[in-house]
Subunit: 263 residues, 4 copies
């Protein structure tokens, strides 16, 4: 049968990304403890397409992805996936994004009851002419208690769920999801827990009230925490508070490239 995709194209346009997206796949994510966690991932995988090809071969992206549903994945394995994809598609560069919910055990602060909390995570890796880059994204929900509301009110203070959305690029190593979440989770007025007994609820209520923070405070404290990590060379942070006194959100955002090229 005719290879329509392989025909010559005369428009003279190299395309940055061609591939599949919104492709769902079960994956095994390597854990900090040395095992792996089964996740349900929404994946996009693409390559660059030189100007002389009319089209890419979409089925090959699926063939490149399928084997990874049974092999634990981390930063290193994504490099293999991208090298394999470049070979299958005869491409110079390739890019993959995997979005999934990841569960981490949480222990309630007083009762010490264990439960699992879900975090939205992203792995984004790119191979560009033999150079590899990797971005880890995590979304960490916390409680924020408003300092202004506490200060001006005779009692109480409005508080709400705040999402700390962080993306980091590494340099000479990487952090586990568990480690990155751990750095970020401390920056709210208080952490969230799936399971809280009454003594825990007293603790988190008082903790948040004692530790009021604007969305700007949470952002700045997260900036400070990420600046301290030598393995992180770039980060992007957005804090969004689902305001309990409004029908809209308050947010703060910050991006930074660290001057650590001397490492």
């Amino acid at each position: 049968m005719k290879d329509v995709q392989g025909q010559i194209d005369n428009r003279g346009i190299d395309i940055h990304n061609v591939g599949v997206k919104d492709f769902h796949l079960p994956l095994l994510i390597q854990t900090r403890e040395g095992g792996f966690q089964p996740v349900m991932a929404n994946v996009s995988l693409s390559v660059s397409l030189p100007m002389h090809f009319k089209g890419t071969h979409m089925s090959r992206f699926v063939e490149a992805l399928l084997p990874w549903s049974s092999k634990p994945i981390s930063n290193t394995e994504l490099k293999s996936l991208l090298i394999d994809t470049c070979e299958r598609l005869e491409a110079d560069s390739a890019e993959v994004t995997m979005a999934f919910k990841y569960f981490i055990e949480k222990t309630a602060p007083v009762s010490l009851k264990a439960s699992f909390m879900d975090y939205d995570c992203i792995f984004k890796a790119r191979r560009e002419k033999e150079r590899h880059s990797f971005i880890l994204g995590v979304e960490v929900p916390v409680t924020s208690c408003c300092p202004c509301s506490k200060e001006i009110s005779d009692y109480g203070a409005h508080n709400q769920r705040t999402l700390i959305k962080v993306k980091v690029r590494f340099h000479g190593g990487f952090l586990w999801i568990e480690d990155l979440v751990d750095r970020i989770e401390k920056q709210g007025s208080c952490q969230l827990y799936p399971l809280l007994k009454r003594e825990d609820e007293k603790f988190v209520t008082e903790r948040a009230y004692e530790n009021p923070k604007f969305v700007e405070d949470i952002l700045r404290d997260t900036v400070i925490a990420l600046r301290k990590e030598p393995l992180i060379s770039w980060f992007d942070i957005e804090c969004e508070s689902i305001e309990s006194i409004h029908n809209h959100s308050a947010f703060a955002r910050h991006t930074e490239t660290k001057e650590q090229m001397t490492y």
Copy 2:
């Protein structure tokens, strides 16, 4: 050209609903004050299809809807739309759902500054063999402050945005969106406002703390408010609290058909 849809079908199956959905249209919603508000609606319109027809004529639904983008709509006009749709499609019954954001002016409690707040609303109307029914749905966000958290903590109390999602069926009349929102909005620990100056923020913080309510309390108080409305013959209420101390929601739901058939 051949009318494939009009061909005879032998499977002997009447279909309850056939039509279009996820159809977007600008509409004009009649306001309580006598004017109208332009909204952007997501519409579904369908008819029943007798067993002898192979298919319906999808373009006629669009033709039935288009004129309503320039004529103010309320309960009464939906009847005309459904009668017209039944005629165009030679059908016994028809059903329409219109989902849209509707804005209502809110005045801040102390500064008295005015702003507009958005409410997700639904109009759902049905014509069944010449009988008409109408359901109005509104989603009213409020603040909820937790009574348990307040009681057991030395200071503070967790609070969050809670959505009160109400659907009501009328009987012998109807309530304006503004009226229904007004009945519901009072049932939280405090109302939300798009615009709050510092003196207002003090007010809403203290108000919520003085008036703590579980999601069950908000539900029950809304039930009581709706039972009092003689024009309402059926209602369905779901209250969902976007918990500020968890990464999940707490909810309560209740449906009731009133025994007021004697009205």
Copy 3:
């Protein structure tokens, strides 16, 4: 500490459902082949609340759910979960909904290449005064090719992805997800496959063109397929075509309770 939830309530309102929702949990779903598949579920779990209690104890829902992240689940296990939930909460009735993506192996029609396809599934179970009911929901995407477009055009025919959304209630047994998907998947103009090589693409293109179906045809053929299953006592079907020639969908919907109370 004071049990605020356990206090007496004087409003005289029994609440139908009180519980948690949008709670994420890794689960193990039993497969037809006798094993289990790890999934990521969005769960809601609730009980009825008698009028004399002010509130429920939300942490107990989480405690009831947690053990199930490591025990394979099917219809039978959901009964245990609901009995346990009723006991923990001292309630008469309980209800659980679990929504998750489930993967089934698909073999390409000509090349016979294997891959996994994802289906959105729902388990919904209810215990009401010792009686149990169970609903299985699956969403099966297929290709639909328009009979009218084929008939009136000199060549070609518009086609698109169509979602067949089915919910079934069982009676005296149950079907595996794999079995239900299998019954439904045959009702489109052609099945979908994650991986298709060129010879497969020729097959599915020609197959859909030879087998044109309106959204009404797909609905009726699915009705016939489900009527034939003696274990199904009730079903609800919605077919939605993401039209390739419009920016909206065409849809058809049908619900049926079977007269098989004599079984």
Copy 4:
């Protein structure tokens, strides 16, 4: 009352963006014909925050936005909004994003019947130390018919809805939404229409079959169309095909900064 936000902050971190998001507001968008169209917008508005301020004053963003619900908006008016926002917040830079559905009249190709089609649009404007930039984003749905499927099959060809998502930055002027949509809409295998009678359906079916295009072809033809517009200095295009033979999408993406600084 104490101005907590105005307090001195010692962390030494300038924040790039602080403000409100997911704020809904009715707006009036200027049309090419000289009038305006009421839309429902989801808005985010933010400013940069110098390191010495602890927090911003969130209510001022709402005060800056409210007047614009009754004044027609285009590129020029967004400059006024940003200047006003910088003044109210004593900030150097400000940024606004407005996302809304916009309707454009479409005439069916043969019957010439008129209807309105909805397009997801974005206005994104930024003021940075007195310099202004403006990005217009539109999402144009079209039909794509697969050239490979047509070539290898004896009859038929799979086709589907494809979204052409374009963002453009201007330089020395701007294009109306209507003009940009017009340039893009021609690049699919065929345009979409809300209302098509039988003779129109024959036309669009045959037109798409005669004009098969890969997602890569649609991308490249859109690149060529945008390169020709002298007022556009930068663009980003993503074409996503909601494949009718798969349960995932195929996509292509391309970004280009034009060397036209000499204009």
